[in-house]
């Protein structure tokens, strides 16, 4: 390593650990997930229903209210097909990952789309959650989303949520 002979390399491993506080609203959401329910909260100003609300409406800056259960069923608004293998990947490539807008919600959840050939994954596909055998306050409680077999949603119904 002659090219390094004139210099010094300092290796400085850094690790920081944190106690994460989800917050009041997200805790309510995660407790719902642990019971197999998707709990949304509503903005009292604009009326939008946030799933996985962080406690405020990001447009109006006011606290979201109420516990509004939305079905674990909705529309795939947009998606991406992953073809590249990377470290720590838990699913075999190729696979589809997408945004699922639950019926009655105004913000989409991210999830895997399975039980459908990759080439048939499309915007507007109607999907439902496949829950894990053991539920907990984590998004791993939803294994993936699969097609419901219903006709595709009209683009007009979700174009505001892309």
């Amino acid at each position: 390593m002659a090219e390094h002979a004139e210099g010094t390399i300092v290796e400085r491993p850094i690790r920081l650990d944190y106690d994460y506080t989800a917050g009041l609203a997200q805790s309510r959401f995660l407790k719902g997930i642990a019971q197999g329910k998707i709990i949304g909260e509503k903005c009292p100003v604009c009326g939008k229903v946030y799933v996985g609300s962080r406690g405020s409406c990001p447009t109006d800056g006011v606290a979201t209210e109420g516990e509004i259960e939305v079905p674990a069923k909705g529309t795939l608004t947009t998606f991406c097909v992953v073809n590249v293998q990377f470290a720590g990947q838990s699913v075999e490539v190729p696979y589809a990952s997408g945004y699922i807008l639950c019926d009655g919600a105004d913000i989409a959840l991210m999830g895997l789309i399975q039980e459908v050939p990759i080439e048939e994954v499309r915007m507007g596909l109607r999907v439902e959650a496949v829950w894990a055998d053991e539920l907990g306050p984590t998004m791993n409680s939803i294994k993936y989303w699969k097609p419901t077999g219903e006709p595709d949603a009209d683009y007009e119904t979700f174009k505001q949520h892309l």
């Binding site: 300092v10 920081l16 506080t21 917050g23 009041l24 962080r54 406690g55 800056g61």
Partner: protein, 352 residues
């Protein structure tokens, strides 16, 4: 220069460890209370700026997430500094000097409890010579305290007296974390924590948020009867390397104080951002404040120390006392970095 004043303030209570609410949930009620006090909505505000540090939260772009507490729609003119809120306030003051807008909202938030705050603050040091050794803020403050104790007439008793007064003053501050009557002799009997500092010479770990509205000229008088006018504001920095500094002095504070005009009139009270007891002595000297000045009537950063907020809280505590009519002229100081690395001084006055 335009006349610019603090016209409304709000702050959360200081909490040792907020385990239920996230940062947005702590900040949002503070901002709501602030705008209500000023009778303004977000649409009435010309410029919004925040001071915070993503490393405290351990999340990239945490400062952007914090905007969820503000309501930035329709789109607002907004900025952020990765510093104490006092420097965000400085940016707002500069922005108001342009003259095209009359109001600014400054907010600051920080939870020091989720991570190891001492390790986190070590990462702000120079990455080659200091940071690999992980000297933390308490260790560097202890070096500074040792240098001060060995330099001249300052004794450990002087440090304990600073602590006793801070605790006593904090009794009147509903937002303070550490307060009460403590005996100087009893403090001196406590064991040293990181010699020569005892635990009480060091700031508590605090989660909190605060916010301020600034307004210019007549707009300030419309919002409040008695604005706290910022007559001077300046900030200066020491050399980066601790080794080339005289740790017993704070030339940057002295210079900022001169430029802000501290000596241009009688000072009724001073809120000095001294997270460690001995730093109050250094700052008082650098600013030329006599014993007649009421120092840290709020209890200061020894009473509660939300990192990234504690400097702006000094401006809030000073300004609020002017707005309440308790003082006519006050000095507020904020610091950032290890052992008083960077210092900001503001002079605030009420209408006479």
């Amino acid at each position: 220069m335009r006349d610019i004043a603090v016209v409304a303030t709000a702050q959360s209570p200081a909490i040792r460890k907020e385990e239920r609410r996230n940062e947005v949930e702590i900040l949002m009620p503070v901002v709501h209370e602030l705008r209500e006090r000023a009778g303004l909505t977000q649409r009435d505000i010309g410029f919004t700026v925040s001071g915070s540090c993503d490393y405290l939260q351990g999340q990239a772009f945490a400062f952007v997430t914090a905007l969820d507490a503000i309501g930035p729609w329709p789109p607002i003119d907004e900025s952020h500094v990765e510093m104490d809120g006092a420097w965000a306030l400085y940016e707002a003051w500069m922005r108001l000097q342009y003259g095209d807008i009359d109001t600014a909202l400054v907010y600051s938030f920080g939870k020091s409890s989720p991570g190891d705050i001492r390790r986190i603050l070590s990462l702000q040091l120079d990455p080659y010579y200091l940071s690999p050794l992980w000297p933390d803020p308490v260790a560097m403050a202890a070096l500074q305290a040792r240098a001060l104790l060995e330099s001249d007439g300052v004794s450990e008793r002087d440090l304990a007296e600073v602590v006793a007064r801070a605790r006593r003053n904090a009794k009147d501050n509903p937002n303070a974390q550490l307060k009460g009557d403590v005996d100087v002799d009893a403090l001196l009997k406590e064991p040293t924590y990181l010699s020569p500092l005892r635990k009480h010479d060091c700031p508590p770990i605090t989660d909190g948020a605060a916010a301020v509205i600034l307004a210019a000229g007549d707009r300030a008088r419309e919002i409040t009867d008695r604005p706290a006018w910022i007559r001077g504001i300046d900030h200066r920095i020491e050399p980066h390397s601790l080794g080339v500094r005289d740790l017993t002095d704070s030339p940057s504070t002295r210079k900022a104080g001169e430029h802000a005009g501290v000596a241009n009139g009688k000072v009724d009270l001073a809120e000095l951002h001294a997270p460690f007891s001995h730093q109050e002595i250094i700052l008082k000297r650098a600013l030329g404040l006599g014993d007649d000045v009421n120092v840290n009537p709020s209890g200061g950063a020894l009473g509660s120390n939300p990192v990234m907020v504690a400097g702006m809280l000094r401006i809030i505590e000073a300004a609020q006392r002017i707005m309440d009519g308790q003082a006519d002229r006050a000095v507020a100081h904020a610091t950032s970095g290890p052992a008083l690395q960077q210092n900001l001084v503001a002079v605030l006055e009420g209408d006479s």
